[in-house]
């Protein structure tokens, strides 16, 4: 067989590489956008991203396989020792049952969002009371503890062993991974469009006002606590669903996967690299990061034999240093936040002169809401 072009770069299978690239790009885009909503727009530094992701992933996986076993009437302890046997059996049963598979996918995503939302609701209490640094310590600690909890409390995902869940895309045959990838991508598009629309809405402008000057926003009658609460819950739901999608994609869930480097630090790196409070920047940052990560993953076997240590550690070194360099040299990121678009003075005066042909909203509101550029 002819070598695919660019095999010279060390990539042996381009289809695997590209499909992995798309899946992880979409996944990290979802998480990073939700972090951007919290951190960039609402000013909540969430150092516990992994908490919501982990909650969504673990509980949705746990519920998904139970639900599948219930629908298919498969007996046995589904999260016990014979979990993988049951998961295999369910996969083969679901192969010919598209409606059940789709229903299970929907259930999994819903549970992920629900658990993420609950965890988000719980984190409101510290988030609206504490200063950034205390909040960061608390969320970081909570995430670490939640991981320990999952590792020791067997009924959820069988402790540190983890559980496998049936393949809900088994009906797609050889394209099951593609199906899961497309599902993540579709959700990523939804999240991106939602975030863009939110930023351009009155809520987005309120959030920026709140971030830049909380006292002023309060003085204008904005309920800062309620806004922060809603934003945190929405972002947590999004992250929880991302966790559920990841469980569907990988087909298993295990507390060891949910470390703070992969699911808290990398999203932070992405947001800062791409540009805080800039959704397009975050998209670019996600692409750069995921491309590097996937590329290293795909080619690390080339280096592995030459080095007396695990190449994963080099990733830590590389990306940790990258973040410090970005913070030092380009703290605004690749695509910085843009000042919000307002109507030009001539257009406003034209509208004042002819108040009848209002086409683009009331001029007064557009003029008042111009948030200061950072």
């Amino acid at each position: 067989m002819m070598l695919p072009p660019l095999a010279i770069l060390g990539i042996t299978s381009w289809s695997t590489f590209l499909s992995g690239l798309l899946a992880f790009f979409a996944l990290y885009l979802i998480i990073s956008i939700s972090l951007n909503i919290e951190m960039g727009y609402a000013g909540i530094p969430n150092f516990g991203k992994v908490l919501y992701f982990m909650g969504g992933a673990a509980f949705s996986g746990s519920v998904a396989i139970r639900a599948a076993a219930w629908i298919m009437h498969v007996p046995g302890n589904v999260v016990g020792l014979d979990n993988f046997l049951i998961a295999d059996k369910l996969t083969s049963m679901l192969q010919s049952d598209v409606p059940a598979s789709v229903a299970l996918i929907a259930i999994t995503m819903a549970i992920g969002g629900l658990v993420g939302g609950i965890l988000g609701y719980v984190s409101i209490f510290p988030a609206i009371r504490l200063r950034e640094d205390y909040l960061a310590m608390l969320l970081l600690g909570s995430a670490a503890f939640f991981q320990i909890f999952l590792g020791n409390y067997n009924p959820v995902i069988n402790g540190t062993l983890g559980i496998g869940i049936p393949n809900f895309f088994a009906w797609a045959g050889p394209y099951s991974t593609v199906g899961a990838t497309l599902l993540i991508a579709a959700f990523a598009v939804v999240v991106y469009v939602y975030a863009e629309r939110m930023v351009r809405s009155p809520l987005g402008r309120t959030l920026r006002a709140l971030r830049d000057n909380e006292a002023a926003a309060e003085a204008l009658g904005k309920d800062t606590v309620a806004i922060r609460r809603n934003v945190l819950i929405i972002a947590s739901i999004i992250t929880g669903v991302a966790g559920a999608l990841y469980t569907i994609y990988t087909g298993d869930t295990n507390p060891a996967i949910y470390d703070r480097v992969t699911w808290t630090f990398w999203p932070w790196l992405i947001v800062i690299l791409g540009g805080v409070a800039s959704n397009s920047g975050v998209a670019v940052g996600t692409f750069v990061f995921v491309f590097l990560l996937q590329y290293i993953d795909a080619t690390k076997f080339l280096l592995q034999n030459a080095l007396p240590f695990d190449v994963t550690w080099l990733e830590y070194l590389l990306f940790g240093s990258l973040l410090i360099v970005v913070l030092l040299l380009r703290p605004q990121g690749i695509l910085p936040e843009k000042p919000s678009h307002t109507l030009s003075r001539s257009e406003i005066s034209k509208m004042i002169e002819h108040p009848d042909d209002k086409k683009e909203g009331t001029p007064g509101e557009a003029a008042r809401e111009d948030a200061p550029a950072r």
Binding site: M39, P45, F47, P126, R129, L130, R131, E132, D133, Y134, A136, M137, L138, L140, G141, S142, A144, F145, I148, F149, G151, N152, R260, V261, F265, W268, L269, I272, P308, F309, D310, T312, W313, L314, E315, Y316, L317, L318, F319, G320, S321, L323, I324, L327, L328, P331
Partner: protein
């Protein structure tokens, strides 16, 4: 450990998420010297102190100072220390793999050797005596330096109001660098003691970080004596609750040991919102100090 964290916090006003890395640095220095050069960890303590201290200075000079000079907000500083921590996890990971594969030190990831290297006295491991002694010594030395020397005066002035201190002619940079050095050294020594007792692994720092934060928060993040107290309470309650819990509730309690510092942290923050630095507490501690 909490002492060192508080020390960096009061000087730079940033919670140092890389503190765990400094602890790990001490741990690895002690371990490498023991397994390669066959030096007793107690004899290599001063060297571990130096390694931790210089790493801390490096972190401060190369990352935090340039950042805060650019007027970076506190969130950027926090994420930067987190990045430093991750860089160090990478470095220690590489180092432990290197020890394992090249130097053929087969316990490079668990450190049983260190636990075995400890001397025993009255049937108890020596670290049981050494660690409290070291803590007491550190506290006394810090107390003397802070209250009885000119440098201590300069340090306290810098912490209270660095601009005013500069006006009086204090070289605040020297103060910052020194306190980071001390903090790093203390953290490294704490790491050696910890590994002498409980062993360790490359990413032990991130697990200990919660306990350190809990200790410092309980102590009020602004007072070194508070941190000593907080560290004692957190460490003590971890051991106490798990031992008692294992006896009366069941052995499953032990697995949740890391939850205790978190609980301490939550309670502290709930009872005294905005941290224990709130007025009541400060009045209490200052009354004790006078």
């Amino acid at each position: 450990m909490s002492v060192s964290l508080t020390l960096t916090y009061i000087t730079t006003k940033v919670p140092n998420f890389a503190q765990g890395a400094l602890v790990t640095a001490g741990l690895y220095t002690g371990f490498a010297l023991l397994s390669i050069n066959k030096i007793n960890p107690y004899e290599s303590l001063p060297f571990s102190f130096l390694v931790g201290g210089f790493i801390a200075i490096g972190v401060y000079l190369l990352v935090l100072r340039p950042l805060s000079r650019r007027g970076a907000p506190i969130i950027s500083l926090m994420i930067a220390t987190l990045a430093v921590d991750i860089v160090f996890v990478g470095i220690f990971g590489i180092y432990s793999d290197y020890l394992y594969q090249v130097k053929e030190v087969y316990d490079a990831k668990l450190f049983y050797a260190l636990t075995g290297a400890d001397f025993t006295l009255f049937g108890v491991n020596g670290v049981v005596y050494a660690a409290p002694t070291a803590l007491a010594l550190t506290t006394i030395i810090l107390y003397v330096v802070l209250t009885r020397t000119r440098f201590g005066l300069a340090m306290r002035a810098t912490v209270e109001n660095s601009n005013l201190a500069k006006v009086v002619g204090i070289n605040t940079e020297v103060v910052y660098v020194t306190s980071w050095f001390i903090a790093g050294g203390v953290a490294a020594i704490a790491g050696v003691f910890y590994s002498l007792w409980l062993g360790g692994e490359p990413d032990i720092g991130s697990i200990l970080l919660i306990s350190m934060f809990a200790g410092s928060i309980l102590g009020g993040l602004k007072s070194i004596y508070g941190a000593v107290f907080g560290g004692l309470v957190v460490g003590g309650s971890e051991i106490l609750v798990t031992t008692l819990g294992a006896q009366y509730v069941g052995s499953w309690v032990t697995a949740y040991e890391p939850g205790i510092p978190l609980l301490v942290m939550v309670i502290t923050l709930l009872v005294l919102p905005g941290g224990i630095t709130s007025l009541d507490w400060r009045r209490l501690t200052s009354r004790g100090k006078r």
